[in-house]
Symmetry: C2
Subunit: 472 residues, 2 copies
């Protein structure tokens, strides 16, 4: 057992008084996650420099104190919260947020790991630049790297991994690894930063990063397209992409089951289908471009191209095309999750499958539910352009004879089995592993991958001090 009073006193001497929090009411916000994850912290330490993170880790290693690195604590798999032991120290990076150096010619930004995404984009906008990972939350950059965040515009820009040039990391023993590579091209062996991307901080604490940034688009155009089936959604995607790839920034698809509740619970959001029932799927097509309007008129191109496609084979599955203001159509997409929660108990998934199998996977999931869980409604929506689906299952608790917790566990196991084994898919498209997905990681990860993780953990953190996610 670690003595929190003694530890706090030592750390105040190392990091300064402000850096250490021990009062229960101060610790609450570090202990519970956004959606999952709830534990108890020994204390929270908030170093303000990479040197202080190094001192802190050296101290923790010397005293055998386990450490949970934490950014803005907005993750969705509980990977940034301490366990229930009360013996883990939360290393919050919220005060490590001062470094922010923009090089507009290199199109890079060097930042501290604790810098918020909003602060970064605020500073970049003065240069007409942005970090293109588009999210609802406002995470830290270090947390985004540890999660390898995706977002709604992955189709065009890729995930964090695709926009990361370098990292600075503090290892479990306090060693500072400067891999702050500023280069787009640098083929000198192993790309060390990759070990820290998407691995929830278990190999080191991300204290800094070099990010590649992009010009802010000058214009956008958005359409909603009604489709009779998932296959029609895929056919439309393919023809759109072939001609519009350079400016195709989002392809979000909403099933009727996910769409109708938005209008039921939000009088202020206009239903483009009026009083009729929407078709099986509605695709939100977004184009964005850095080109000025005099060179490329995006709304005109989108309307004209959609019209041309409708006359071809891909048009057979299309029921409606609505052009409109981007913010109005995105409002529909952004109100789905919350509207579904007004309909009953919700079990959300974060699944991916190959794009070509999106329709088939969804049909198989619906068939599985119809057979064994007839009271469950599949309300699926997601990033079809990236093969991601947030399949949401909704039911009234009164209609199920079993406790929700039991049902949730069974549904997760069966749906993930279908996605991973049946459709070459993933049980975590963009949220990560963490305690929430640990049992699926254990089930679905090939032994050679666990073996490499074991070797890395032995080398980088032999005392097993960092994080709670077990990758070995």
């Amino acid at each position: 057992m670690h003595d929190s009073v003694r530890t706090a006193s030592d750390l105040r001497a190392l990091l300064g008084g402000d850096a250490v929090l021990t009062e229960a009411e101060d610790l609450v916000r570090y202990e519970s996650g956004w959606r999952y994850g709830k534990g108890r912290a020994l204390l929270a330490a908030r170093p303000g420099t990479t040197g202080e993170v190094s001192k802190l880790m050296a101290y923790c290693q010397a005293h055998g104190i386990r450490v949970m690195p934490q950014g803005a604590n907005t993750g969705l798999v509980g990977a940034s919260n301490p366990d229930a032991s009360g013996q883990m120290l939360v290393l919050s990076l919220e005060r490590l947020n001062k470094r922010l150096e923009i090089d507009p010619v290199n199109r890079t930004a060097v930042v501290d790991g604790g810098l918020l995404l909003s602060a970064l984009n605020g500073a970049l906008s003065a240069h007409g630049l942005m970090f293109p990972i588009d999210l609802g939350a406002d995470p830290t950059i270090g947390g985004m790297i540890a999660t390898n965040t995706g977002g709604t515009r992955l189709l065009k820009y890729g995930d964090v991994r695709h926009n990361l040039q370098g990292v600075e990391v503090v290892l479990a023993d306090g060693t500072v690894v400067d891999a702050l590579n500023h280069l787009r091209k640098n083929n000198t062996g192993l790309d060390l930063k990759q070990l820290f991307v998407g691995t929830s901080g278990v190999y080191g604490v991300i204290t800094g990063a070099v990010l590649q940034v992009v010009p802010v688009p000058r214009q956008q155009a958005v359409a909603l397209v009604g489709c009779v089936s998932g296959e029609a959604v895929l056919a439309l995607m393919q023809v759109l992409e072939r001609e519009l790839a350079d400016v195709f920034t989002a392809y979000e698809v909403i099933s009727a089951n996910a769409l109708i509740p938005v209008f039921t619970h939000h009088d202020d959001i206009r239903n483009p289908y009026g009083t009729g029932r929407p078709p099986a799927y509605t695709a939100l097509v977004e184009l964005s471009s850095t080109l000025p309007e005099e060179a490329l008129n995006l709304p005109e191109v989108l309307e004209e191209r959609l019209g041309a496609f409708l006359e071809g084979d891909a048009g057979e599955g299309v029921t409606d095309v609505f052009m409109g203001r981007p913010e109005d159509f995105w409002a529909i997409r952004h109100h789905i999750s919350e509207s579904l929660r007004s309909e009953g108990k919700v079990l959300a998934f974060d699944i991916s499958v190959p794009r070509s199998r999106m329709a088939a996977f969804t049909e198989a999931a619906v068939a599985l539910l119809a057979k064994d869980y007839p009271f469950v409604r599949a309300c699926d929506f997601g990033h079809w352009g990236d093969g991601g689906t947030h399949l949401n299952l909704v039911w009234k608790e009164a209609e199920s004879s079993r406790p929700a917790a039991v049902l949730v566990e069974e549904l997760q196991a069966r749906i993930y089995e279908l996605a991973v084994r049946g459709f070459d898919g993933s049980y975590s498209a963009e949220h990560g592993v963490g305690p929430h997905n640990q049992r699926f990681y254990d089930t679905y990860t090939p032994e050679p991958v666990k073996g490499v993780n074991h070797a890395l953990k032995q080398h980088l953190d032999p005392g097993n001090l960092l994080g709670t996610t077990r990758l070995a």
Copy 2:
């Protein structure tokens, strides 16, 4: 010492007679590299399936035979050639080239590691798709992954790493690791494939891959722009990128010293500057787009935008703008290396620095040469859009009092020191490490990076059987 007769006989029994080559005249082409690398092979084995690669590796591990995996042997750092011992077996992947499954809706291709890039692009073109790594050579896909090839359109598409979804790898002990991920989004811990990207096969033999592919552009436009200085080149790049990022596919820059020899040695290539001396730099600006001409007229946009920029601040450093046929302008770029070789002894570099420091680095290199090597001419050209420069140094051997080999060694050491330590740059932007760059790897790689490589090598290839590049 291994007995090549006995080994060949064992391997013929395992893999079939055609798979094994032992005659000196048959081995020549496996023993010497495209530019560097020359050794002697125990024999060459050419398995035709992943299962055969696995059997071969298990045999080699059991007998302690060192193995050099080799694709098309087009690499530029000697990383695919056996050493001089005559004791290494060349594992050629040239017959592992049958698998080629294209999924046009997923926009992916699953391929064997030995498939040639030209064969892949040939098959993809029927679907209007391509693998966007643009190169002079025709390598295998496995070799491209082991090298993390870049090419001339990295600015738009990134390197191999950015377009790779999954790999199949055979480890030193014959274990087949199936990491043939078909997903764009899959955040389930360590991304194992990254260990095999750019590491020259020292962690495993790449027998298969899932590649992300892109729509073939429908149109291109190219201009040559004369600039008075490197700073003017960077200013132009920045303004072009801000508006044209979506369609900006190459920004190749050629110094006057590299440009003039092209016209000297090629009467059939037209000099747009006529009889006058070219300005300090000429930038080749390429735009490409999937959009049809009726939506976006690229040549018009390029000419019009360049005109508009010339009236702004960026125009001050511009001397000339020439619009022309892409193939004519690219012909100039593609004849530089060979034209320089007609001018004298050439020492080529493959350096990168942050894009914002390209002009300053080049000036510093020129100053270093002018002071200590006045007989050496700096003929620099390269991918300025990616921060890459193929600085070529040219001299007449008669003008130097020292042997070329001594001079080469000294110039490499001094120029790399300038790039890496002076400008946060890299001694290998896109060619890789290999024996050719081993001493620079040893000098410039941070100890923690070597430590991780040591742990990985211990775990994945404890007998040190694979490859000649030493990353630990």
